[in-house]
Structure formats: structure tokens, C-alpha cells
């Protein structure tokens, strides 16, 4: 029922373009007028051809009045009607039917984009990145995580947490497309609390890298360092050999080796005991681990080669 009505409505909105060929083709219009067929956009592009459009349901009448003799030789008519094309909504529907794959692909793409828009595919930090780690934690605590649906309405909670950080004067959390944009601005009048004094290293090993932005390096890359040794001095020497006290801003990487006898029930426990005694952080890396049983019952020989990275005001 609905399908039939839709088809009728579509036919009503569709115009069929027809060409009538014959001598003095304008005379054919008289017959069409008598048949009360509305004609639209009547043009005469050639001497023996007239072009016009008519409603789809009326086009059948036109072909009945001026049949195409090529197909029906028993009927004689001085004029021949031919369908040239379609206009209006019918043409659009026909085109869409021919490109159904493209249409479905486009629809799928739009739906996928809309669905993906609700997720978080990236977090972008704008302004000061000093509190990037704190911002990341605040986002996670409030349910804003990568590859998860965006927890809308928690932006104020994240900002409230970040505004508690020292020196933060402005904070904004916005979702832009598939990314979350966190903007943190520090107040220009904030006193920066830099740790004072020299930089010491708490591990024994070889200095692999040393970056000093402020201060004076007291060791070179490749030097061996002892636990508790000073590696960067909190001073800078000027042109006139005058020294000036400055806060140290530096980063050092030290390659270390831990070797010890550990008493434990099994190898895993032995490694855990040794690892905990090292006091490593997230930035430190373990290169090799060797755990061997000793002749003594419940004692393991543990050897760990690792690199520690320590910073001061960096």
C-alpha cells in the first residue's frame, strides 16, 4: 500500500523527456492537447524534431498516440515519439539506485565517524606542560581515558584538580573531534620553588649521559661515579672567574650493576627482593638479569644490570 503510494508520488515528481520526429512536428502538439496531456519545456532544436517533457504517467499516453513504428510496424503514424531521458526526482532516484554501493559506503562512513566521535583517540596538552603528568592522572581519575568513550561532564572536576597545582592560573578541558585538549596556563607571577644545592647521585656505576642546563658538571660522560658523589655543582663561573650560586637544572643517566647474594624461597622472590632494594622508578630500565642458585640452601646469586635516570629541577 505504502509502496504503491510512494511509487505514485515518485511518478508524479518525475518528468520524462520525449522527442517527436516527423515533418512539422509542432502539429503533433494538437493531438497531445486534445488528449489533455500537459507538456513542459517544449523546444524545437531541429527542423523535424520537437522536444518536451511530460509527467511519467502521461508519457504512456504519448507513446500510445505516437507509437514507435520500429517496434510496432502495424501502426502508421507520421510522427515517432522516443524517450530521451528523465528529469526531476525520478532521475535522482535512478542515479542513486545505480550507485547504491557508493551510497551505502558513504552512509557507513558517516555512521562510523559519528560513532568514533564519542571516543577519545588522543590527548593534547596545550600551554604549560609542567603538569602534564598530573593532568593525565586527573583525566584518568575522572574517567577520560584513551580508546574509551568520552566521560562528558567531568571537565570541571579535572580542572578543579589541576587548579590546585602550584602556579596554575587557568585550566580548560575540551573535546575537539576525537581528541581531548587540555590547556594549562601558569601565572607569570608564580614563585618557582627550585630545589637548592648540588646534585648528588645515589648509585654507583658509570655516567652514561649528563645534561646540565644550569650549574657546573663535575663529572664527564664515561666517568665512574660512587653512591653519594656530587656530580653537578650549584654554581656557575663567570668571565672574571667569579662564581655565582645558581639552582641546578640537570639530568643524569648512570649505568649500574647490582650483584648480591639474596636469601629467598625461589628465583622470583629473589628477584623481587633485589628489585625492591634498588629503589627503581618508572624512568629506569633493566638491561639484563641473571639469577643463579648457590650451594647454600635458600640463597641465590642475583646480578642485575640497569640504568637509572635522575633529575634535579629538570
Amino acid at each position: 500500500m505504502i509502496k504503491n503510494r510512494l511509487r505514485e508520488w515518485l511518478d508524479e515528481k518525475t518528468r520524462v523527456q520525449i522527442a517527436i520526429d516527423g515533418i512539422m512536428p509542432q502539429r503533433a502538439l494538437l493531438k497531445l492537447k486534445r488528449a489533455q496531456i500537459p507538456l513542459y519545456d517544449v523546444k524545437k532544436p531541429q527542423k523535424n524534431r520537437i522536444l518536451f517533457s511530460t509527467r511519467k504517467k502521461d508519457s504512456e499516453k504519448v507513446f500510445a498516440i505516437f507509437p514507435n513504428v520500429c517496434y510496432n510496424s502495424s501502426t502508421l503514424s507520421p510522427y515517432v515519439a522516443q524517450k530521451v531521458g528523465e528529469k526531476g526526482l525520478g532521475k535522482v532516484v535512478k542515479k542513486l539506485k545505480n550507485r547504491i554501493g557508493l551510497l551505502l559506503g558513504g552512509l557507513l562512513f558517516c555512521m562510523a565517524t559519528l560513532a568514533a566521535d564519542a571516543f577519545v583517540f588522543g590527548i593534547e596538552f596545550v600551554g604549560s606542560t609542567v603538569y602534564a603528568r598530573e593532568a593525565q592522572m586527573a583525566l584518568e581519575q575522572n574517567g577520560i581515558r584513551l580508546f574509551r568513550p568520552y566521560a562528558k561532564g567531568n571537565e570541571d572536576l579535572v580542572c578543579a584538580q589541576l587548579l590546585q597545582c602550584n602556579g596554575v592560573s587557568f585550566c580548560s578541558v575540551q573535546k575537539r573531534g576525537m581528541r581531548v585538549r587540555v590547556e594549562v596556563q601558569l601565572s607569570p607571577f608564580t614563585d618557582v620553588n627550585l630545589a637548592q644545592g648540588d646534585m648528588f647521585i645515589a648509585y654507583t656505576g658509570t655516567l652514561k649521559a649528563l645534561t646540565v642546563l644550569k650549574g657546573t658538571p663535575l663529572k664527564k660522560v664515561g666517568d665512574s661515579v660512587q653512591s653519594g658523589e656530587k656530580i653537578v655543582g650549584a654554581f656557575m663561573t663567570g668571565e672574571n672567574e667569579q662564581t655565582k650560586a645558581v639552582p641546578v637544572i640537570a639530568r643524569a643517566a648512570v649505568a649500574c650493576t647490582y650483584e648480591n647474594q639474596v636469601q629467598a624461597g625461589d628465583m622470583q622472590s629473589a628477584f623481587a627482593t633485589a628489585y625492591l632494594s634498588l629503589g627503581l622508578t618508572d624512568t629506569d630500565t633493566i638491561q639484563t638479569t641473571v639469577i643463579e642458585r648457590t650451594e647454600q640452601e635458600g640463597t641465590f646469586h642475583v646480578k642485575i644490570q640497569f640504568t637509572v635516570i635522575r633529575t634535579m629541577n629538570f
Partner: protein, 88 residues
């Protein structure tokens, strides 16, 4: 449009047709019996008593249904003719 009404009252039953022209635009003609000649430069229309020869540029029939005809294009001249196409 009382004046037009009076005009049509006076010629009622005489077989005249009503034509409305928009200068520089389309023309609406009632009571068209046949289309005598039809090219983009010239259209000849026949009514009940008289005919009409319209000359112009890019002329075409926008709509033609049941004796009502909507003509589009640039009309340059208009001449009344008799039933046989001769000049009045």
C-alpha cells in the same frame, strides 16, 4: 482589475482569448487551439478567431496544457494574423 473585467464583459461570446504579457518576461495565453509554427525565433499560435505571430529569441513553451500556454523567451514583436495565417 475592474477595467479588465469590464473589457471581457464587453467581448463575451465573441471568441476572444485572454493573453497576459510580462514585459521582458514570460507570456501567459489562454484558449490556444494549435501551434502553427514553432522555432526558437518564431512561434505562431492560433486561437478561436485569430492567430498570433510572435517573434523573438530563444522562445520555447514552458507549459502547454488544455489550451493554456506559458511562453518563455525574449519576445521582440507580436503580430495578429487571420485564421489562415494572412496578415490582418
Amino acid at each position: 482589475m475592474r477595467l479588465i473585467g469590464e473589457l471581457f464583459d464587453a467581448v463575451e461570446g465573441e471568441g476572444f482569448s485572454r493573453c497576459t504579457w510580462v514585459l521582458g518576461g514570460d507570456a501567459y495565453l489562454e484558449g490556444v487551439k494549435t501551434v502553427g509554427d514553432f522555432t526558437p525565433e518564431k512561434i505562431v499560435l492560433f486561437f478561436k478567431k485569430y492567430g498570433m505571430e510572435i517573434e523573438g529569441q530563444d522562445l520555447f513553451i514552458r507549459k502547454y496544457v488544455d489550451g493554456d500556454l506559458l511562453l518563455s523567451g525574449k519576445v521582440l514583436s507580436l503580430r495578429m494574423i487571420d485564421e489562415k495565417g494572412g496578415r490582418l
